[in-house]
Amino acid sequence: TDSFDFANYHTLGEIYSFQDMLVAENPNIVSKIVIGQSYEGRPLNVLKFSTGGTNRPAIWIDTGIHSREWVTQASGLWFAKKIVTDYGTDPALTAILSQMDIFLEIATNPDGYAFTHSGNRMWRKTRKPNPGSSCVGVDPNRNWDAGFGEPGASSNPCSETYRGPSAHSESEVKSIVDFVKSHGNIKAFISIHSYSQMLMYPYGYKRTPTNDAAELHKVAQKAISDLTSLYGTKYTYGSIIDTIYQASGNTIDWTYEQGIKYSYTFELRDTGRYGFLLPASQIIPTAQETWLALMSIMDHTSKNPY
């Protein structure tokens, strides 16, 4: 993976090969877990970074649940390499990994991602057909059992924010749900999207602040300060409902309600020049600055056990 071209976008096949290569090169720290299958039968691969122990507290990071947000999958690849490179040399990451595991799902919606390469670059949703409709797919960030079906998602299968027929109807979502529940010791959950440059915490489906809102806000503030220190990229942060809009059935509302206090979601670069078509030249700077924020959240999580 030393010669892997992180400064370019890659097909799903290349992402899968990269994951296998990374595991082969670093068997002492990385392993691959298949947590399920997508609707079209693709494996839902998760990289586990662990220095040992059983059922350690863990941090979850996912990228690419919205398939067209290509800078997220590309950043996920960079994060994976960064973890194995920095482990043993960066004291902060080494300390985190001495206590906790990190799970990283790079292609969270593989059918959608493959379709962005083969059929429609602008595809966002899953690829499961909707009975009775000619429109395909569900928005996997409206399909979670947290305010499911409430305002902030669509009941129309032709909408980009279609919530699906029921909570966790999408195998891409259900597989994470099952994994999180069976693991039982995930302490931070970070779901990465693009674009708009935001870092958000629950809730999205209701206005009521979480019991941890003050702490989550403070952690976000520090994370964004670290992110901005690298290239001056400006981010906004706050609860989903206050920062963007009401979004019901979203990932981190569900994870928070499962007891995962440090639940965050990112919107990476940019603020609206390229949108989902961020030039490949911006992948590495985006990943680098995001990594600083991720480290900040992971560091806080490891130092504040609950």
């Binding site: 071209d5 370019n8 670059r121 602008m122 980009e160 963007i244 809009y245 609206g272 078509l277």
Partner: protein, 98 residues
Amino acid sequence: KVTFEGHKVLRIVPKDEVQLSLIKDLEEMMEFELDFWRGVTTVSNPVDVRVPFHVLKSVKDYLETQNIDYSAMIEDLQMILDKEQKEMAAARVPQPKN
């Protein structure tokens, strides 16, 4: 393969609550096949929307009639997609084996 010839991404900035609500109405109009890249939030917050060529005139007319400010964030979506494809293909040129 779906292509996007003539599609534009418009950036719309609602000035007040009335405009905000008019843009929300646009979001509900499924027949326009609009793809909201950044949805409607609050006054002064930009909304980015991909507008297919065949409804471009209708959407522009709607915005202009209501006095809603907009600009083209992406003039020609397909041109950017073609460029992206070219860059990916160029990056994939096999390197000579040593």
